[in-house]
Amino acid sequence: MSKSNFTRRGLLKTGAVTGAGLALPTIFTSGAAAFTNEPTGDTVTFGFNVPQTGPYADEGLDELRAQELAIEHLNGMGDGGMLNTFSSKVLDGTGVLGKKAAFVTGDTQTKSDAARASAKSMIEKDGVVMINGGSSSGVAVAVQGLCQEAGIIFMAGLTHSNDTTGKDRKANGFRHFFNAYMSGAALAPVLKNAYGTDRRAYHLTADYTWGWTQQESIQSATEALGWETVNNVMTPVGAGDFSSYITPVLNSGADVLILNHYGGDMINSLTQAVQFGLRDAEANGKNFEIVVPLYSELMAAGAGENIKGVYGSMNWNWQLQDEGTQAFVKSFGEKYGRPPSNSAHTCYVQTLLYADAVTRAGSFAPCAVAEALEGFEFDGLGNGPTLYRAEDHQCFKDVLVMKGAENPTTEYDTLEIVEQTPVDQVMYEPNHPMFGGDEASLGSCNDGA
């Protein structure tokens, strides 16, 4: 009779040692990756992090539509959209560096913590090589920081705060969208022509990073015209009823109300200002005026008739007549039955710019991609000649000054283009005090892994 030497404990020990031995080469392999989430198969995955729930969900949905379209165009499906008009010709509809482009989505909920969690999950579980999208500066700054730590490229979506490429700029983060300083610089001459140089402005400002920087930028630009700032009142985000903030305006000696609000807050504050008769009122012997420095098509449609004649600014608008815009509007319009919003445009363009940079760099490595994007000059993507400035990773291009249309024919043409402000007029130095001054730095690029 033979006696077996196998015991349960012994078996477990042997199993554990063998398991560790087998796992060892895998550990070495993953350690050998040159950068975070280096794509090894025949696909490469992008992470689209947009608000799918919460107050900016409609905007997030439009961003997703555009990003999906960009993926189709990169993979050679559809009519190619802006790939046909883009000045760089390295993208040929065969994917990115020979790999088929795929995507996963995350929900930012317009909350910094939720946005970081969804970005983290896409990086760790889905192996994305870049994160693109979003609709809030608070979220953009938070996710940009996370991508910097993780060694992933962050292509920002709709974020307008000076801080994103100012004091919070990061080597792994890039912004195509314009910013609050540019809004002020573009709007000021138009406001001067329309309302003169002797005006007194009253600001209502959303109490967070975007509101603060926008207010500072607009105040500085209008004071340079000779306008006086009577007051700046911070309002809580999502206040709903702004009546108690609006009623003191008429008797404050101001004759212009500047609403540094966005989304639902802007719809409510503008509507209520009109209800309280501000647009029909006179002050200091002049017609009382309202200005909304940052517009979006979805907000404009929400505010309805109240935006008629109100000035604001935008990064891009589907009514532009250049070749790139027309190609994108046709592509997007035929697929979704509606013209794209400016947040959709920026996300689409950012996806193409990333893919283009990867192709020119010949690598998905974040530092190589960043180098390809830095100082990159391009055209054909809807904004005219554009520069991705190396010092702060901010795009410089023309800015649109808009006005609420007097006689819109559909819900999509509630805004009209007043002026395409040339890029030179909205340029600033990388160490401008509103952008963190001399202390602001990109830091060093992080490949992760």
Binding site: D241, F276, G302
Partner: protein
């Protein structure tokens, strides 16, 4: 002085909404003993009844306008409302313009039904459960309702305007001898305040002067004894739940021109309305109404620049500060009765 009058006026319409919601909350708590965290959702549903009616009235068919083109250069499809072709353009436009007041007629039966389904379908199973359970289940219900609304109507606020006749604002100042344009107040906010006063008066009259109301009040005071007299008090209380839902619903309908409805508006009002109920005194209907107006006006005053420059952020905390002070000095609230939530 004009600034003070303006803030009182501002407080009145905000206070009207708080009072109407708090009235319903108190009715439900006083009759059924349920702490209903879904009550704000009823206000929100009411607002979306107005949105729905506006959409129904605006239902249109497409007509090609060969002279205009859409954004892709195709002939423009113009939307013509069915009501225009059925009743003529003038009547059609009038119906769409007056959709908010007309929505009240639709909101009352809809809200009674929603209230009935909510009470019979879910809340009645929690009568004997602790208040914590009731809060959890009604809070969950509120989230489900708001997600449903978001699914169908989207996340952005939806403009639902007042009839053109009430679109402007009234120069209140010149009535009181102030210079022109010093106190401007939108007509619709005035309408809202009057409407709230009528609804509140109506609910009180109903409880005070009808036999049904008398029985309900008796039931609120001593449910067991009323039951022993052979009266089916539960049935009446269910009807009161429906009534409270209808009050919240019509309050929501009429509020739409003041605040563009969105899916989370109910939650925004709910928390403040609960504070109103607590300050007014749990179970006290006059207390809820008085506290609603009081806190609405206080909140408006706290938003004045002069006050905010003295105490920054006071506009955000004033209501809770007042609640703490009142609860410390009068633990049962302004008009609370002994024995409510104290057993």
């Amino acid at each position: 002085m004009d600034a003070i009058i303006l803030q009182i006026l501002n407080g009145l319409d905000k206070g009207s909404a708080y009072a109407l919601i708090a009235l319903g909350l108190t009715l439900i708590f006083g009759t059924l003993g349920v702490v209903n965290f879904a009550h704000g959702a009823l206000f929100m549903i009411g607002a979306f009844v107005a949105v729905t009616l506006q959409r129904i009235l605006s239902l249109s068919y497409e007509q090609i306008d060969p002279e205009k083109t859409d954004f892709l250069g195709n002939p423009l499809k113009v939307q013509v409302p069915y009501v225009d072709s059925w009743f003529g353009a003038d009547v059609g436009a009038w119906l769409i313009d007056w959709s908010v007041p007309i929505a009240i007629v639709m909101a009352i039966p809809v809200m009674l039904l929603v209230g009935f389904i909510m009470e019979r379908g879910l809340i009645k199973h929690f009568y004997k459960r602790p208040h914590a359970d009731q809060i959890l289940v009604t809070f969950g219900l509120a989230i489900v309702l708001q997600e449903l609304v978001k699914y169908f109507f989207g996340a952005n606020p939806i403009q639902t305007g007042a009839p053109d006749a009430f679109a402007g604002s009234m120069d209140f100042g010149s009535l009181l001898g102030f210079p022109p344009n010093s106190i401007m107040y939108p007509y619709w906010r005035l309408v809202y305040f009057l409407f709230a006063a009528i609804v509140i008066g109506g609910v009180f009259a109903f409880l005070q002067f009808t036999t049904f109301g008398m029985v309900v009040r008796a039931g609120m005071a001593d449910r067991e004894t009323v039951g022993l007299l052979g009266i089916n008090i539960d049935k009446r209380f269910t009807l009161m739940f429906g009534l409270a839902a209808a009050v919240a619903g019509v309050a929501g309908v009429m509020y739409t021109p003041i605040l563009a409805p969105n899916y989370h508006m109910g939650m925004d009002f709910l928390v403040l309305s609960f504070v109103v109920v607590v300050v007014g005194g749990m179970g006290s209907l006059p207390g809820a109404v008085a506290a609603g107006f009081l806190l609405g006006i206080l909140q408006s005053f706290a938003s004045m620049n002069e006050i905010k420059s003295l105490i920054p952020g006071i506009d955000q905390v004033i209501i809770y500060l007042v609640a703490i002070i009142i609860l410390l000095t009068r633990p049962r609230g302004l008009m609370g009765r002994a024995g409510v939530m104290e057993e």
